[in-house]
């Protein structure tokens, strides 16, 4: 079982779209995937039409293995299950910080479904917090979507600094470009500069800015389920391939 975190310390970069499409993409290749919707602002559960579970409101949730596994829902797609978000997740990081040994408890909660899943994909909330830090320690890989703009470049570098300060293993970070608009000169230039500056941290993969990705909200499904020919699907599949190669 491998844990993959989909994380960005900046909002609106296509993180949830990445989580949803990567989860679906990996499941398509036969990997058994659990997508955990940890982002209260995100909506990866919404895209799979999964209702938030009432059972998750109690504080005991992450200490109780059975509650954890009972809350899991099968998606409409083979090999893909969802752990839906819940209001209580807003307090998720606070909850974690109150816990002693939060890392091991989180790890335990995730390991409880070991054997069931090949990949656990965490759709993380967009801030650096205790939760994020424990996720960074637990995860085998951290997917970071980056819009190739100056501002995103700065945020990405902040993340690298955070890793350096806390002595976290930087090599887990797998950046890739998201919402890329081929017509924008700035996008191309920034992408090239970032790749040159961080050749090991940034994958040579660009997910285009595509209306099909925006339409996910209408269809409430991953792009590949309603627009399999979309260039976005090809990019996500490439990302899945690169990720599988790293794991």
């Amino acid at each position: 079982m491998k844990i993959v975190a989909c994380y960005s310390n900046k909002g609106g970069v296509g993180k949830t779209a990445t989580s949803v499409n990567i989860a679906h993409g990996l499941a398509k290749t036969g990997k058994r995937v659990l997508l955990c919707d940890l982002d209260p602002q995100g909506a990866s559960g919404f895209y799979f039409r999964v209702k938030p579970s009432k059972k998750l409101t109690e504080d005991r949730f992450f200490t109780d293995v059975k509650r954890f596994t009972d809350a899991i829902r099968g998606s409409d797609f083979e090999n893909l299950d969802i752990l839906p978000a819940n209001m209580a997740f807003r307090d998720f990081d606070v909850f974690l910080s109150r816990m002693k040994n939060s890392r091991s408890r989180l790890k335990k909660a995730l390991a409880s479904v070991d054997g069931d899943y090949d990949v656990i994909l965490l759709d993380c909330p967009p801030n650096i917090s205790v939760l994020s830090e424990s996720v960074f320690k637990t995860a085998d890989a951290i997917l970071v979507p980056v819009i190739p703009t100056t501002l995103s470049e700065r945020t990405f570098e902040q993340l690298l600094e955070f890793f350096a300060e806390r002595d976290l293993p930087k090599k887990k970070i797998l950046g890739f470009f998201s919402m890329v608009q081929g017509t924008k000169k700035l996008h191309a230039e920034t992408a090239a500069a970032m790749r040159a500056a961080h050749p090991k941290r940034i994958l040579d993969i660009s997910v285009p800015f595509a209306t099909d990705i925006e339409k996910m909200g209408v269809h409430r499904a991953p792009v590949a389920a309603f627009a399999p020919g979309s260039p976005a699907v090809a990019a996500y599949d490439a990302l899945c391939g690169a990720l599988a190669g790293r794991l």
């Binding site: 799979f48 039409r49 999964v50 829902r73 099968g74 409409d76 090999n79 299950d81 409430r220």
Partner: protein
Amino acid sequence: MTQSEPLVLLGTGTSPLDPARLDTGALSFREDVPATETGFALIDTIDGRIAASGRLLISTPAEMSLIGERLRCEQPQAAPDFLDRMPEGAVTGALSGTVPQLRALMTVARGTALRQRLALVDDEGKTVLRCDLWDLRPEAGQAVSVAVLVPLRGYDKALRRIARQVGAQGTAADPARAAALLRGEDPAATGKAAPAIREDQPAFEAAAAIIREQIAVARSREAGTIADIDTEFLHDYRVALRRVRSVVSLFKGVFSEAETARLKTRFGAIMARTGRLRDLDVYLLERAEYIALVPESRRAGLSRLFDRFAEERADEQAKLAAWLGSKGYLQEIGRLERLFAKASRLEQGPLADRLAPDYARALIWKRYRKVCKLAAHIQDAPDEQVHELRIHCKKLRYLMEFFAPLFGASEVKSLIKSLKRLQDNLGLFNDYSVQQVSLEEAQAGIAADPDAQTAEIAAGIGALVAVLAARQAEERARVAASFARFDSDETRAAFRKLFKPGEDAR
């Protein structure tokens, strides 16, 4: 990854799941995959091993689905064959251990399958249950419906809700019953043949009933023997006819002497046609084992012998197949069938009217005493006596099997079991002996028409005969001990209680 396993509901007639008649609350059905109508085949062994294991194997042009009460697996369609000759997959994997090596899978029923795949969705459009519905309409036989309810993880409530209603709605059937309906057989008659003999029946009627049934079994194996689907068809055919002959010869006084002689001759003539092919089948099935018995240097010669057997077998099979399809055979077997269908045309013997249980007790007791008497001094007796003992044991076994329904099947069963252990020993003794004789005959045949391989084959046969003789001697040495094990106080008491009541045990 789904927590709950799929739930399979079988029903007779039309679909047990009529979406229009279900109370789904806030949930609703929609088509998940467009409905298809295709041909289907029910695949099983001739004796229904898959059905007996509680499963149905349905083959459609796209795939094979193995459906059991808590199981469903699929793999791409493949022609039915011996299991180890079919492609590996989820279905063939699940069937290993169910389908014996010697049995081939075959189409046992065919017809039209209407398949609907529905999704039960909630108010968000999320699928909470998948329903795979089959309407199987066989060309012969009766329609059967299959509903496979596949829950999604975390949505067990929806499964329970629908399952409860479907259970109340449809006419439930278990897989064995469903298979029998599709095959157009009497669902009550599945499994091992249990003749419809009754306690209040005269011996004559019981004999006729057993024979009628065994003729039907033999006839059901004709097509498979002709098509050469597997060697078990001929084996079953012969076992059934041997049972017929046993009834004719063992049920003394039930038929007139002249009738007994006539029936023996007629059934014997049919059996005689099948003997050589069966012998060759047995050799060829054991080919690898036999070759392993002899030293390396003798294996090539033995291999050549088996190659000749294989050629001869092909000829014999063709001959028998032609004969089983011939007008002469069909007329004869048809006449015999009719003769027992309306048994009034049979000449009765002096004991015809005795009640079956009394008649059976006397027969079985007499035979049992004969076995004990013969076995008493078997250690030092000549080999002929061992052969005789084997034959008496076999007759005793047949009698007990025929009449088991009259005497509490479970008690008789345990006696048969202890008898069987003795028979296994005697059977091996006999097989080794018969094989030596027939190998020597084969040798004589080959020597009469010598060619370049003759010497090599003769050396192979010589080596095998030597091994078989040693094995026969080993079995011979065990006979007395086998009988002693069979002849326990419990067994004696049980025989006496069942077949010689009213007298105190010694």
